[in-house]
Structure formats: C-alpha cells, structure tokens
Amino acid sequence: MTTTLELVVAGRRRRARRRASIVGVLLVLAAALFAASLVYGRTVYPIGDVWAVIRGEEVPGATFTVGRLRLPRAVLAVIAGFAFGLGGVTFQTMLRNPLASPDIIGITGGASAAATIGIVFFSLEGAQISVLAIVAGLMVAMVIYALSFKDGVAGIRLILIGIGIAAMLESVTTYVLSKAGQWDLQEALRWLTGSLNGSSWSDVVPLLVASLVLVPLLLSRTGALGTLPLGDDTAAALGTRVEATRLVVVLAAVGLIAFATAATGPIAFVAFLAGPIAARLVGPGASLLVPAALVGAVLVLLADLVGQYALDTRYPVGVVTGVLGAPYLVYLIVRTNRAGGNL
C-alpha cells in the first residue's frame, strides 16, 4: 500500500518538476525572443539603449524606433500569443479533442468577420471593435453549440459544424474586404491571416486590460477544468459545479480569443498548435494552460521575427504561422488518427 502511495506521490512530484522546468524554459525563451525583437531590426540598438528607452530615458533615434514601433509590436505579440494559446488549449481540454480549437471551429472567424464589418461598414475603432469581436465570437460559440445539440453534444458533430461555420464566415470576411477598395493588400491580410504590422499602444491597451481580467479568472478554474473531460457526472461527483464552470471557462476563453483577434487579426494556427506542442513538452497528467499560453507567445514572437527579417519580403506573422503550422497540422491529424484521437 505504502509503496503504491509512494509511487503515486513520486510520479506526481516528478511530473510537477518537469512541468515547472518546462515553464521556466519557455519563460526564458519568450524573454529572449522579446529582447531580440526589440534589439534587432533595420538598425540594431545595443541592449543598454533599449533598456534606457524602456525606463523612459530619451535616447536619440532609439526612443522613436524602439519605444514607438518595436515595443508595442513585441508587447502585442506576447499578449496575443498568450491569449491565443490559452484560449485554444482551454477549448481543446474542455472538448477533449485537439481539433476543437477556436480557429478551426469558427470562433476566431466570427470575431474576424465582425471586426472587418465594423471597420469597413460602420467605421468603428479601438474598443468598439473589441466589443463587436467578442460579441460575435460568443454568438458563434453559442450557435455552434446549439446546432450541434442533438441528444447531447457529440464532439465530432461540433467540430464538423464548426468547420462549416468557419467556411461561411471566411467568405463573409473576404466579401467585406473586397468592398473596401481603398485598403491595400497588407491591411487586408491582417484580417485574413493575422498581422502585427502597424501595432500601436492603442491596439495593446484593450487586449492587455482584458487579459488582466480574464487570464486569472481562467487560471483559477484550472482544477475544475481538468475534471470536465471526465464527463459531467464524474466531474459533479468530484465536486465541480459543472454548468457554472463551463459557462465561466467558455466566456473567458472566447473573450481572450476575440480581444486578441480584434487586435491582431486571426493569427493562423497559433490557438490550434499551442496546446498539442505544450502537451508533447510537458507530458501527460499536468495542466496545460500555462505552458500552452507560453508556447503561443513564443510562436508569435518567433514567427514575427522570421516573417520580418528571414526573407527578402516582409511577411505578416499569420502567413508564417500558416506556412509553418500547416505541415504540423497534417502530421497531427495523421498521428491522431493512428492513436485514436486524443490530445
């Protein structure tokens, strides 16, 4: 008896240690990439100058380039990546399927379509766009849930219906963009694949405020969220208030996704990829929320650096994540098929 208990305790401790070390590595990686995206560019500033700018000192040249251009961009990349990763893994955990991420089942698409409609047809700005995006994201989530309800919600039906909805919303976005003739291709791509070009503090603020509220809310439900995949009855028996938990978790996750989409556009595949990557890093049995969020931030920072400086043309971040993410998605489908379908 004691040996079994010792084994369980030892295993739990080992997994916790592994998770903590992975989180530490990801934090260091994210910080390094963040620093790199501040230092590196057409003009390379020494790290001392960058630090001086962050502390608010006046450095000729660097104050504008780093303080006004690179800093909001890098901050937006971190927060948006964090939000996409966290929102994505929440859905994947709750629906017990890596394919049920918000960008595949159309929630991101709904936020994006609403944002483009608001901008092109009603000339909205800033916080209004965020509100519109979150309302649309929630509505899409509810519609998908309602449509897939038939003697309970089967995960597969939900994913397939989400795919249909996503296809429809994407064509709506495309149509709206085609109506906005004065936009250039770069600006249109922001709403089709996601981009950090032209980021400013006014993009960062709504997302930052939303994250400060929603991230702690979501993380406080980590334990309850972990019981939901066991089934409603088991979760209730374990002491989870199932309906309340699900409501809070869905609201918080959709909110994060929608605010991030309103700020950067739907950065392709980040919400989808962060969870499975984190799962492979951390291993089974631990909560994926924080690791996946950090993976999301690392992905966006890295993809933005690659998109800006690795090639002759400057690509928006969503094109890079799309091209890099697609092979991984196919690999994941193949592997999921073999394994019988789990994260």
């Binding site: 394919l99 449509l147 397939l160 694949t193 998605l329 196919v330 489908i333 098929n337």
Partner: protein
C-alpha cells in the same frame, strides 16, 4: 415427386406472375418520374439562363436583350447583355462540372461530406496556378488548365491518403479535417507566393475567391475539351460507382474491378474540378449540396444521379451569379461567396442528420 415439382413450379409461376407486373409498374413509374424531373430541371435551367441574361447590375429592356444576344453591341445596354452571354455559359459549365465532380467524389469516398471545396481540391488547383503565374511566368488558358488539373490531382491524392490513415479508413470527419487543414495551408502558401509580387496581385486575386465575372468565349473554349473528357470518364464510371456503393467486398464479389472503378471515377472528378477551377477559381459547396438534393429526386442510381447533379449544378451556380449581381447593385458579389453562404448551412444540416460515432 413429379407432382410436387409441378405444383411447386406452379406456385412459383403464379407468385411471380402476380408480382412481376407490380415490380415492372414501380420501375416504369420511377422511370417516368425521373423523366418528369429531368424535364423540370431542364426547364428550370432554361429559365435561369434567361434570367441571367435579363437581370444584372444594369437594367435593360427586351429589345436590348435580343440585340445583345444576336451580337449587336452599339448601345451600352446591348453591350451589357452581350457580356452576359459568355458569363452565363461559364456559370453553367462550371456549375455542371462541380456538381458532377461532387456526386462522383461522394460516390468514390462513400462519404456524404465529400466536396471539391471542402476536400481542398479546388484550392490545390488554385495554388498550382498561382505558383505557376508567379514563379514560372505561366499564361494562357490551355496551360492554366493542365497546371490546375495536376494541382487538383496531387491534392486529391494527398488529402485522401492523409484521411485514410489510421482506424476506420477515410471517415467523414477525417476527410473534412484533412481537407480543411490543406485548404488553410494552401491559402497561406498562396498569400506567401503573391505577397512579394505586387505586380501580379490583381490578376491572382481571382484565384483566391471564385467568380465568373469577366468571362469571354476565348477563355472558355480551350478548356472545353478537358471538361468533355472529364464528363465522359465520369459518366462511364457511373455503373462502377453503383457497385462501389455496396462496399468494396460486395462490389468485388459482383465482378467489379474495384480499383479501376474507383480510380476512373476519381480521375473524372479531378479533371472536372481542375478544369472548373482553371476557368472560375475555387468555388466550394456546389458539389456538396446538389448530389443530396438529386438523391431525393431520382434515387441513388449514379447513372441518373451524375447527370442530374450536373444539370442542377449549372442551375445553382447561375442562380448564385444572378443573385450576386442583383443583391450588390451596382457592384457585384463573387459567386464563390454566395455558394459558401448557401452551402454552409446545408453542410451543417447534413452533419446534423448523420449519426456520428465518437472519434
């Protein structure tokens, strides 16, 4: 012994005598209803074609229409009608190709959600053409068609292979997901290819959203041979699809060469998708919706189903084009957007109707 034999043959004879007329009756009546439906669909198609000439961004009178169709384009109204003629033909041809391809694909994969758009085949054809334009200086309808068909074929094989891995073969979910993933990846690739080339961005845009605007007979004619080949191959393989519907083992037991039947039907479908995409860009959901509707009208016999899907496909795409012209006056709505807005709810309806088992 002899008595019992005669009596048994007697009873057999009498029962078959009483059932045969009834069976023949129902067969005849179903054939009659199919012929009636055929006439109805052809009639609808004719009405739709006329309305496509009559309705549009610019309102025209009957005199202008007659003049425009017979080749006069002296006034603006007549010129507008003259431009609508090739456009209508294009919509009908592309719609027929996509409807037929969808029915064949659903037969080949035995999957109610198969559609050239959902499976990413159209997007594969698009990517091939865009890459060809940007990197290899591709131009001309003939070469577009070859490249598009190659892209469609490679994508179809790839998606089917990915979806077939693992347990249960290519289930609806796996096919749809593999197709969605491929579509998302390809549209990223298309963006990556187009972005550095501001000079071709405009000409490439039509390869991202399907549309039938700007059609001319000069562009349509070179693709017609491909469409005819695809049509013939598909129609010839209709009988094979009927056997395949019973399952591979039963089909083989009935003497069908399963691989050949499946391969030829898939080839026909891919050629049709590639040619349609070469003409009009990627258009989704036409091939998804119509085979289901046609199954309600004429049953599951592919020898009827394929032609019906083609005819109704022509109707649907022409209607979608007319709607796009009328709704967004004085501008236009690309037909690919309309079909997605009509088709996605239908996709959801089919998903809801299916019994899905857990993954």
């Amino acid at each position: 012994m002899t008595i019992s034999t005669t009596s048994s043959t007697g009873t057999t004879g009498s029962t078959s005598g009483s059932t045969r007329p009834a069976g023949a009756d129902s067969l005849r009546s179903s054939r009659r209803s199919r012929v009636v439906w055929l006439l109805v669909v052809v009639g609808v198609l004719a009405c739709v074609a006329v309305s496509s000439l009559v309705l549009g961004s610019r309102q025209v009178g009957w005199g202008d229409i007659v003049a425009g169709v017979t080749g006069h384009d002296t006034t603006i109204a007549e010129a507008a009608v003259a431009k609508r003629v090739p456009r209508t033909v294009l919509a009908m041809v592309v719609g027929a190709a996509l409807g037929l391809a969808g029915a064949a694909m659903q037969g080949v994969t035995r999957n109610p959600l198969a559609d050239p758009g959902i499976l990413g085949v159209n997007m594969g054809a698009s990517l091939a053409v865009v890459t060809g334009i940007a990197w290899f200086g591709l131009s001309g309808a003939q070469s577009f068609t070859w490249v598009a068909i190659t892209g469609a074929a490679v994508t179809a094989v790839f998606v089917y292979a990915v979806a077939s891995m693992g347990r249960g073969g290519p289930t609806p979910l796996k096919l749809a997901l593999a197709g969605t993933a491929t579509t998302a990846a390809f549209s990223s690739f298309i963006t990556a290819v187009v972005l550095p080339r501001g000079d071709i961005a405009d000409s490439v845009r039509s390869w991202q959203i399907g549309g039938v605007g700007g059609a001319t007979f000069d562009r349509i004619l070179p693709v017609v041979p491909f469409l005819v080949v695809g049509l013939l191959v598909s129609v010839v393989s209709a009988r094979g699809l009927n056997s395949l519907a019973l399952g591979d083992d039963v089909a083989a037991g009935l003497g069908e060469r399963v691989a050949i039947a499946r391969g030829s039907a898939a080839l026909g479908a891919v050629v049709l998708c590639g040619a349609a995409t070469a003409l009009a860009g990627p258009i989704g959901f036409v091939g998804l919706v119509l085979p289901h509707v046609c199954r309600l009208l004429v049953g599951i016999d592919h020898r009827w189903l394929l032609p019906f899907s083609a005819l109704t496909g022509a109707c649907l795409l022409t209607v979608a084009d007319v709607v796009g012209r009328v709704v967004a006056r004085p501008g236009e709505l690309d037909v690919g957007i309309i079909t997605a807005i009509i088709g996605a709810p239908f996709f959801i309806y089919i998903v809801r109707r299916q019994k899905v088992r857990a993954l």
